[in-house]
């Protein structure tokens, strides 16, 4: 729970969402989650959520207070199947990855650092993360292959 989110809790609905996040922990975070988890990310990242309807999914864009832009891809089945980010710092991945954070963290720890510290690639059967960055620009993409709507290519998840 970040201290900045405490300052953001000015209205009752937001207080409820924040309090619920405190009680429910990472279950409310985004990847693999539903549309309410996207709103929670908006609160936690201190950014408005802008929704763009595409043919087979909705893309929700959040610009965090840091300036980092997060895109969350929500299928018609109501699941966040992919997230991308770009900006001066990575987003809070514990928030963004939700229940996928622990698998992410242990997969990252198991790597033998093949790119030194410039790249991270995790490819598991149903969880893929690509992250890169240096200086003041970081970007990445994570997705759940089994949740991607048919006909949607990885390349369009930007």
């Amino acid at each position: 729970m970040s201290y900045r989110s405490m300052h953001a809790a000015r209205t009752l609905p937001v207080l409820i969402a924040v309090a619920f996040a405190w009680l429910a922990g990472p279950a409310l975070a985004s990847l693999g989650g539903d549309v309410t988890s996207v709103s929670d990310d908006g609160v936690q990242f201190h950014g408005q959520v802008l929704r763009t309807a595409m043919l087979q999914y909705d893309r929700h864009d959040i610009t965090a207070a840091s300036g980092t832009v997060v895109h969350e891809y929500l299928s018609r089945a109501g699941k966040v199947f992919a997230v991308t980010w770009q900006g001066p710092t990575p987003p809070d991945l514990r928030q963004l990855f939700g229940s996928y954070f622990e698998p992410f963290r242990s997969a990252a720890a198991a790597q033998s650092r093949p790119g030194a510290h410039r790249r991270l690639s995790i490819v598991q059967s149903d969880f893929v993360v690509q992250a890169t960055g240096r200086l003041r620009t970081f970007q990445g993409r994570a997705y759940i292959p089994s949740l991607i709507p048919s006909g949607v290519s990885i390349a369009e998840l930007q």
């Binding site: 991945l93 963290r105 650092r113 093949p114 790119g115 030194a116 410039r118 991270l120």
Partner: protein
């Protein structure tokens, strides 16, 4: 079969990046990469836009020159260039020399493991209320965490006074890293970082920049709150705070054979065009984007954001070269059937171009005892609209003299940021 078993065993032992196969013979004919003569050689193509480092000759007896070494280092990782740094309590002669510090043109700031700083009682930076300032710095694969301290930094005959540096907490001190500081592996320990610290000499004078609202925290003994760190308190590029020779750095590593070499030792030079030894000569200046410190790289018909990055251990770019197989993280390296001579063209914002020839060799053909290798690479993360990149990691630096100029400072006739080679 036995070769690949050896690969698997080496990875199980937690070593990064090793190869099957013994023997050191180069498996290709001349492939247009580094020549093999002396420290002042550099690659050049035969095209009109080729660049050559010219006769840049350095000596450790010069005050603005220190050794740059690629070898087993602390952790037996390949392509980790290091130097030694001396840190002192400000305005005193109470100092500690620290070896095996990664020289990184892809980050900014001096960061040292608390365990190697040891008992040197550097003053900790605090905010106006007396809270300790700590920093969570992201890398692509993880983060570092620890307090900001003030130190005098001495390298060769150069000295920077009262430099904000980052102590990396490898003692598991409190407060621990905030939960938002968690984008991967905790790198604040020698085993994960692969060095005793990082000397970030990228093109910025401070790590975060103006209007910084990220990375920094004001901490009590137990709790940290995000804080906006003023520019002059941020962890700084120590070179920018040298009394002289403070507008950039030069990295020069002698050329090595395509099969690699056990170690390679060259020079880290301070200043560009500030002394008799550090002028550009006929190096080609490619000015960089002032926010990203990137240039344009044209490769295979694509236009990419390129950067010269000594803290990266390979050449990383998207391509259809077959990836490796059969060992942990194999798909993060290319394994062409035979060594591939390739060329990219780099272009600065100033419109000037310079060729960048390189070779990609099957990494499993190279001996794991060679810690310096100039012909390995792999795929860049393919996130096209977020800016496809070409990461010219340490392989690019062998056999070249590479200049990195700091933002907003004139460096031998051109304002930084820029790369030159």
């Amino acid at each position: 079969m036995l070769r690949c078993l050896r690969w698997t065993m080496l990875f199980a032992a937690g070593l990064a990046l090793s190869a099957c196969g013994g023997g050191g013979s180069s498996s290709g004919a001349g492939v247009g990469t580094s020549s093999s003569s002396g420290v002042s050689s550099s690659s050049s193509s035969s095209g009109a836009s080729s660049s050559s480092g010219g006769a840049h000759v350095f000596s450790l007896s010069s005050p603005n020159v220190v050794a740059l070494t690629v070898g087993p280092g602390t952790s037996a990782f390949q392509n980790i260039p290091t130097t030694s740094v001396t840190v002192c309590i400000p305005n005193t002669n109470t100092c500690t020399p620290i070896a095996n510090v990664l020289v990184d043109t892809g980050s900014v700031g001096l960061r040292l493991m608390a365990s190697v700083v040891g008992k040197l009682a550097l003053p900790m930076q605090t905010d106006p209320s007396g809270n300790a300032i700590e920093e969570c710095l992201p890398f692509a694969d993880g983060f570092t965490w620890g307090p900001v301290a003030m130190a005098d930094v001495i390298m060769g005959g150069e000295k920077a006074s009262n430099v904000p540096i980052n102590i990396l907490d490898d003692n598991n001190s409190l407060p621990s890293a905030p939960t938002s500081c968690n984008n991967g592996t905790a790198l604040s320990n020698v085993d994960n970082l692969g060095a005793n610290g990082v000397l970030g000499v990228g093109s910025f004078a401070q790590d975060c920049g103006p209007g910084c609202n990220i990375w920094y925290y004001a901490c009590t003994a137990s709790t940290c709150t995000a804080t906006d760190e003023p520019l002059n308190s941020q962890v700084a590029n120590p070179v920018a705070l040298f009394v002289a020779d403070n507008n950039g750095v030069i990295l020069q590593l002698p050329a090595i054979p395509d099969a690699g070499q056990a170690t390679d030792t060259g020079f880290l030079v301070f200043g560009i065009g500030t002394e008799a030894n550090n002028g550009l000569g006929d190096a080609t200046v490619l000015t960089a984007d002032p926010n990203e410190a990137t240039i344009t790289t044209k490769f295979n018909g694509q236009t990419l954001s390129g950067f010269l990055d000594s803290g990266s251990n390979g050449l990383f770019f998207a391509d259809s070269i077959p990836p490796c197989k059969g060992f942990m993280n194999a798909d993060q390296f290319y394994c062409p059937p035979s060594p591939l001579p390739l060329t990219a063209t780099n272009q600065g914002q100033n419109g000037v171009t310079a060729a960048a020839p390189f070779t990609i060799t099957d990494i499993t053909m190279l001996s794991p005892s060679n810690f310096a290798i100039d012909d390995i690479g792999g795929p860049a993360a393919v996130i096209p609209s977020l800016g496809p990149t070409f990461d010219f990691g340490l392989p690019f630096f062998y056999g070249r003299t590479v200049f990195t100029a700091i933002e907003n400072l004139p460096a031998d006739g051109t304002m930084g940021p820029y790369f030159a080679y």
